[in-house]
């Protein structure tokens, strides 16, 4: 079965969704991601969906779920690169993903995570 690769970038994990998501793939991603967060002790998860053209309510909920699960595991999820059409679809579906942070592109998403890491470090020291 196909799996979506999860890359480790320092304290963060990068997931780039390049193919159209089907439900099984989404569930697999959720599981893999949870395992990796625990394994690496990651503090941030970056999900790049710039190549994703079609979303349904299931995928929307999956994004929400991943964010909720990562938060419990002390990692921040940032969804980046959402296409305008996808954003409109999700809003029309009533999924505003209020628990998920968003950024325009990977660069900005990374900056968000780095900023948070900086804050966490400062807290630890202080």
């Amino acid at each position: 079965m196909d799996r979506i690769p999860i890359l480790k970038l320092g304290d963060a994990l990068l997931v780039t969704i390049q193919v159209d998501m089907h439900d099984r793939l989404a569930t697999a991603l959720e599981e893999d991601l949870t395992t990796k967060i625990v394994a690496f002790g990651s503090k941030g998860v970056l999900i790049d969906i710039s190549a994703l053209e079609i979303v349904d309510s299931f995928i929307g909920r999956m994004l929400d779920n991943i964010a909720a699960v990562s938060r419990i595991l002390d990692a921040e999820t940032v969804v980046v690169g959402m296409r305008p059409a996808v954003a409109i679809t999700l809003v029309e579906l009533g999924l505003s993903l209020s628990g998920v942070k968003t950024a325009l592109n990977v660069e900005r998403g990374m900056a968000m995570i780095q900023k948070r890491l900086g804050e966490v470090d400062a807290d630890d020291e202080g």
Partner: protein, 301 residues
Amino acid sequence: MSAHETTTLATMVSDHEKAILPEWVELQKRAGSLQTGRITEAELTAQSAEFLKLLRAGLAKGAGEAANAAYTPAREFLANLSRSRAMQGFSPSETAAFVFSLKQPLFNTLNRDKALSPADVAKATVTVTVLLDELGLLTFETFQKGREEVILRQHREISELSTPVVRLWEGILALPIIGTLDSARTQVVMENLLQHIVDDGAEIAIIDITGVPTVDTLTAQHLLKTVSAARLMGADCIISGIRPQIAQTIVHLGVELNVISKATLADAFAVALRRTNRTVTKIKSGAGEGAKPKFAADKGE
């Protein structure tokens, strides 16, 4: 209606075409088709001749109803004519007069034909009337459709024109909304804004609703949808230009606007600049050419 009458009519039309056409064109001229100067007499004559030819072809096939396949070319010609006249700004009666004014020359020709018995003339008259009435109704319908197309196009143009996305500063967009926000417009506004966010890489979008006359629950919902969609793209939204009455209405309606809102676009812009680590400072007068504001881009503090 029998095939006999229509063939009689067809022969009559082809025999007397030279007489019918000028009479018909003359009638149309008298009805004022040329007064407005939208078409020339030559054009009118050409159109009339063309239609007469198509009508004759239909009649020759022996069909009595306008819906018959024999009249398809005639119907198509009429449809095109009505549509173009609708675009040119003709009134509906002027357009329909094109077909209806053909009746009189045809009746006159029928009456002049000594070879026909009175009963035949009466029957042929009925056939012509029914046929031309049906064709006349068709022109009305097509005319109406043509007009609707014009209205629809204008509506689309207005909704596109009235929702510009303005770039206020690097990474800051403003969307001044003017007029009522309905579902169709929200869609246009939203798509427009989101596309600009991508193109500009904007971090903050200011939605200014100074030009929105009333805000009801539906409008508020549309606004919130736009805000959510922008947030999903990674841009923050600020709503500005909420007038006192509108603020009261929103509260009375019990709508929760879970977004930053500012009274004026200037306030919102100030917030946006602060968020992107920028300030506006006034330079002391005397140093330079007066109080020109200076934008200090000290990113990263």
